[in-house]
Symmetry: C2
Subunit: 715 residues, 2 copies
């Protein structure tokens, strides 16, 4: 790629970004789009938009930029919780790292690279200059100038490590102060106990009761045994759907109310649809009631056990309860809204096996992902399409159409497959036996991160089949040399990738194109004006890996091709503004992990540094400077030592709270009169939403469940 081509690409993408910004600033002011661009404000009733038409609505404005910029961290904390703050710290941290990198890279390394003669390119024809001449490949072999690169690697590593330490320290102190300022939450007082042993003649509930009253007589408060409710949940979901349908149909009496009862509504006698659905609903509700009454007896070997104090709950989590460590397995309980109910019935062995299966599946998906992609891409060749769909033959012969298909279809296929990956990883994580949605998301985040690094970074760097790439890592000795040859060769590709994928994806995040289209279809074609819309939460598991991939690119290419750095810095600044705006207007947190995602960011940065060192070892060997190559070797070791220190110093703070913090909170509340009522609420905090209705109806002795009542009120 030559410099002018890059500049053209930058120009086009800058234009696209400004277009998105302009469109956004206009569209967000249209009242119909409030649910797209400010669902959070709409849900909170803070949306100040009126339906009055005025000229201002059609003019682009930059007020949102200043609002997003001026937002203080305390406001962000109250709006999006600690997770939102930690998410934004990724941008701040990365911007700091690459601000330093830009100074060193662009002002020191870039001129040195440019003045090299290795690639013997004409130095004066700047616009037609290949981008290769800005990379380390252009420095003469064995040149002493490479020692400047060598020092830059050392200094950059030191700076990144310092910033990592500072950031870990900052976030862990935030985490502690967030805990100190938090109100009593049920999950702080509760543990989740799994693998409750079966004792003959006693229900799980009795076993739990007797166990905890025996071993925690003064602190044990209450418990709630989980019940097998997946079938019931399915039934209730169906009933809810049907109920909404009935309400919709009865609200629009002018619509056609009858259709044939037979196949696809085409045959058979005509029936009144409303009557038909109501009858179906009644059947379903009968089923729900039958299932509820039968389910109430089906306990599962897992229970939420609440204690009087946070300290007592933490004690119970950390200690092995029974003599057999596979029984009475205790773990911190998630927030009641965060609980993932379906997987509670699994035994210790089953969860352990499904864990292993998921690991294998995840490795296979990651390593072999490109194989189905390549197959499908093979199917998009013109000849194949022509044989499969002969009627398209005429269309495909048109030059423009064929260009579009051959040019865009393969990359569209790749994008489609990539789009599915976060959902696949969430699916895999959810059968791993986690008890909380946040744990599933965190685990999926790690999976997607590895997937992204492997399939975007390594797949582009190392050509050849997936298995060939995997094989390289079975011969550790060769890795530096292989990477040293392959990585600099892809520098121009990744610069373009940052500009196209990085900048545009961030702007489109602001623009929310798919949501906008869905909303438009819903409102103007389906004419649905549903009051119940869901405020989305940040999809950390798909966003964080993307942001971290750019960090990996920046760190590995820091000394190879410093030209990538300014574009990355722009990306992080853009992202910082846009995501602050989105956190304020669009996303609402569903649950709070207290910043538990940061260790993933830290580990990813350490991995990027080590990768940079490995490439440096290879590059200096290739550039005939073996001394520099050997002198880099201590650097990854020192980095790992630094990482292991950080793990000792900070990681425990992300796993649990200390005795000091727990007792401080407990004692603050000791004389609080509201704590008694909180203890009462604890007893019912962890009731399964599917069963809570049955529970109430059981208590009142009537079968008039809220579900039925709502349906009656609608009718």
């Amino acid at each position: 790629m030559i410099l002018s081509a890059l500049l053209t690409s930058v120009g086009i993408n800058l234009g696209l970004c400004f277009l998105f910004f302009t469109l956004y600033s206009i569209l967000r002011k249209q009242p119909g789009n409030a649910e797209v661009y400010a669902p959070r404000l709409v849900a909170e009733g803070k949306s100040q938009q009126t339906n009055d038409f005025n000229l201002e609505r059609l003019l682009p404005s930059a007020g949102w930029v200043t609002r997003a910029w001026k937002l203080s961290e305390a406001e962000l904390l109250s709006a999006s919780g600690l997770d939102g703050v930690v998410f934004m710290r990724i941008f701040i941290f990365s911007a700091r790292v690459f601000a330093f990198a830009v100074v060193v890279g662009v002002f020191i390394l870039l001129p040195i690279n440019y003045m090299g003669k290795q690639l013997s390119l004409d130095i004066f024809d700047l616009p037609n200059k290949s981008l290769e001449s800005f990379t380390i490949s252009n420095v003469d072999d064995g040149s002493n100038r490479l020692w400047i690169h060598f020092s830059a690697v050392y200094i950059f590593t030191a700076v990144v490590c310092y910033l990592l330490y500072f950031e870990y320290d900052y976030i862990s102190s935030k985490r502690v102060s967030y805990f100190y300022s938090s109100k009593p939450h049920p999950h702080q007082f509760t543990i989740l106990v799994r693998s409750i042993p079966v004792s003959s003649g006693r229900s799980y509930s009795e076993t739990v009761e007797s166990f905890f009253t025996e071993y925690y007589p003064t602190t044990y408060l209450s418990h709630w045994v989980v019940r097998r409710a997946s079938k019931l949940q399915g039934l209730i979901k169906n009933a809810d759907k049907l109920r909404r349908l009935v309400r919709l149909k009865s609200a629009n009496p002018n619509q056609e109310r009858s259709r044939r009862a037979g196949f696809m509504g085409l045959f058979g006698h005509r029936v009144d649809i409303l009557d038909h659905y109501e009858k179906k609903l009644e059947d379903l509700e009968d089923n729900v009631r039958a299932e509820q009454s039968s389910t109430l007896g089906k306990e599962v070997g897992a229970a939420f056990v609440s204690f009087r104090t946070r300290f007592a709950a933490a004690t119970a989590i950390h200690m092995q309860q029974g003599v057999n460590p596979t029984q009475w397995v205790s773990e911190p309980a998630p927030d009641p809204e965060d609980v993932y109910w379906p997987f509670f019935s699994a035994s210790f062995l089953k969860r352990w096996i499904s864990n292993l299966v998921v690991i294998v599946a995840c490795v296979l998906v990651t390593v072999l992902f490109l194989i189905p992609v390549l197959i499908v891409q093979g199917l998009t060749h013109l000849e194949v399409l022509e044989t499969w769909f002969p009627f398209l033959k005429g269309l495909l012969r048109i030059a423009f159409v064929s260009q579009v298909i051959t040019g865009y279809l393969p990359s569209l296929v790749l994008q489609l497959f990539l789009y599915l990956v976060p959902s696949i990883m969430i699916m895999l994580s959810s059968i791993q036996g986690y008890s909380a949605l946040s744990q599933i998301q965190k685990s999926a985040c790690i999976k997607v991160l590895w997937f992204t690094i492997w399939n975007i970074f390594f797949a582009n760097v190392l050509s050849g089949t997936a298995l060939y790439r995997a094989e390289i890592f079975l011969e550790p000795k060769k890795i530096p040399a292989v990477l040293a040859v392959a990585v600099p060769g892809q520098a121009t590709f990744f610069i373009a990738y940052v500009v196209t994928s990085g900048w545009t994806s961030t702007s489109s995040e602001l623009f929310r194109l798919t949501t906008l289209i869905f909303n438009f279809i819903k409102r103007n074609i389906c004419r649905k004006f549903d009051d119940e819309f869901e405020v989305p939460s940040v999809p950390y598991h798909s966003e964080i890996p993307r942001i971290l991939l750019f960090g990996l690119l920046g760190i590995t290419y820091f000394f190879l091709a410093p030209l990538i750095l300014p574009f990355l810095l722009v990306y992080y600044c853009l992202g910082y503004l846009i995501y602050r705006n989105q956190l304020l207007n669009v996303y609402a947190p569903k649950y709070e992990t207290g910043g538990k995602l940061w260790p993933i960011v830290h580990d990813s940065m350490i991995f990027s540094l080590i990768l940079m060192h490995v490439i440096a070892i290879g590059i200096f060997g290739l550039k005939k400077l073996p001394l520099a190559s050997s002198l880099i070797v201590p650097l990854p070791i020192l980095t790992l030592v630094f990482n292991s220190y950080c793990r000792r110093r900070f990681l425990p703070m992300f796993k649990s709270y200390s005795v000091e913090s727990l007792l401080k909170k407990d004692r603050e509340e000791q004389n609080d009169p509201t704590i008694a009522s909180f203890h009462d609420r604890l007893a019912t905090a962890y009731h399964d939403p599917a069963l809570i209705r049955a529970q109430y109806s059981g208590n009142s002795g009537s079968i008039n469940t809220p579900l039925l009542r709502t349906a009656e009120a609608d009718a």
Copy 2:
């Protein structure tokens, strides 16, 4: 090696064993050897030997064999603690494994190997048959008979895993019942807190007091801050030596009592030695007192904190105490006799760095061990010796002498170096910052095990330099093929190794040759009759790795060269008898870990199995049976899955006790009247032996330390 040579070697070593046995059964009855062969009984006052001479003393007898055989496990438990029982379980477990292996190996695999024609050896000349014809190398390439070997590998793995599970289960249940039946021990009620933060204006003792009274108000009992006493310990040791000398000299008044005061007692004016030493002793005692008074103020950031109940102590161990996880680091306290005092003054960072340094040092010692050995062995060549020691020229020219030197000196050098390894590893472990001698021994045991596997198994199997061997493991793909070629080639060497090193070393363990010689020299030449002799404890760190190495040999050669198996079975039976006898008569436990060494044995067995599988993958590839080679691949994976299950199921029980067990013990003692006095004793249980005297003298207000008092009593 041919069969007859092996049989000769077996004959010679059997003869040696019988010689050792006979000599042992005679020597042990000599009253002067009681301290060598029954130090434990002597120390316990149970030695029934009289000085009367009778004929029976000179006749060999086998009474000790029946006594050792009849010993029940309960008796062993009371005599040697759970560690002794676990140590013996290694023999029982190994004997079971190899009893099964002998049946399969000798009756099924051996005939198949023998009937092969690959090596085209004469089948009828049995005595001159090469041992190679009993190995898998003799089976024809691609023969279907190899599927029998294949099945044997699967079945053997299943049997070993079953026995491992059974044994882990048995020992962990033993561990729990041992805990239930134990008396209250100080270490059960105490935790060791390190990295106590410095607070200005307060001593460590006040900081600890205020911290634990604040956070454990109801359960905290007392604490004892560790003091810097390493200099004091050195002084006291010197004083003790000098005191003994004074006592000795004053007890033998007829010996020369004066010598010259100058260089080596040759020049200067004559002085009375006793006076001289007494004066020196007084000086030393002055020093001790000065050091004691100054040391009392020098507290170190570590303390033993005692609680009222075991449960409270366990809680404090498992929880993170302070907000900063590198401060208030708590760990289980060792037994008071088990405490390793010197390393308490180290800070968190220092211990963490020394840990890293030790790991590097340990890897270097292990990998590069053979280099100094080879250098020294190079020096023992005749020509080198002749140039270094010209006066030996005549002697070295004698054929017999030169044969002995060239034949035995290199192996003697190797043995000498090997003899040093356990001490080196103990030394390395002791600077790793462990607080207990038992932890140091356990850590040294693991180090010696890896050292042994690398330097005995891999060094013999893989020829070439140490670095070449290390390099093989950097290319994991090649490992199976390399091992498949190399391992069977060393089969005959290892069969001979089992017979010579295994059998003879075990018999010499019974015979205790070095101790016998030392004792003889002490009694007959130095004429010392010291009442104070130390009862040795089992050197687990040097014994267990040796026993496990033979297990590794047996498992890896099980299907390659089944001829090794009967010899191993004999070794384990011998070992079983001899070590039971030694545990009964010789070794007394110094401290009790509660069987914590078993996980090392388990892991070593799993490693041996995996190694066998890797070799099998290579062998079946080499033997042109690629299908069998691929079908072995799931086996190591299944073994690792089994191991990971065992780690979940049993390992936590070896790390700490459960709430159930702890509270059961606590409640049993709740109404015990003796527990109050035990609580009182707890307060002083962890006083440093070097300071305990100073403490008393400080309390009584006099400087008359026990040390001085003893010296006065002696005078």
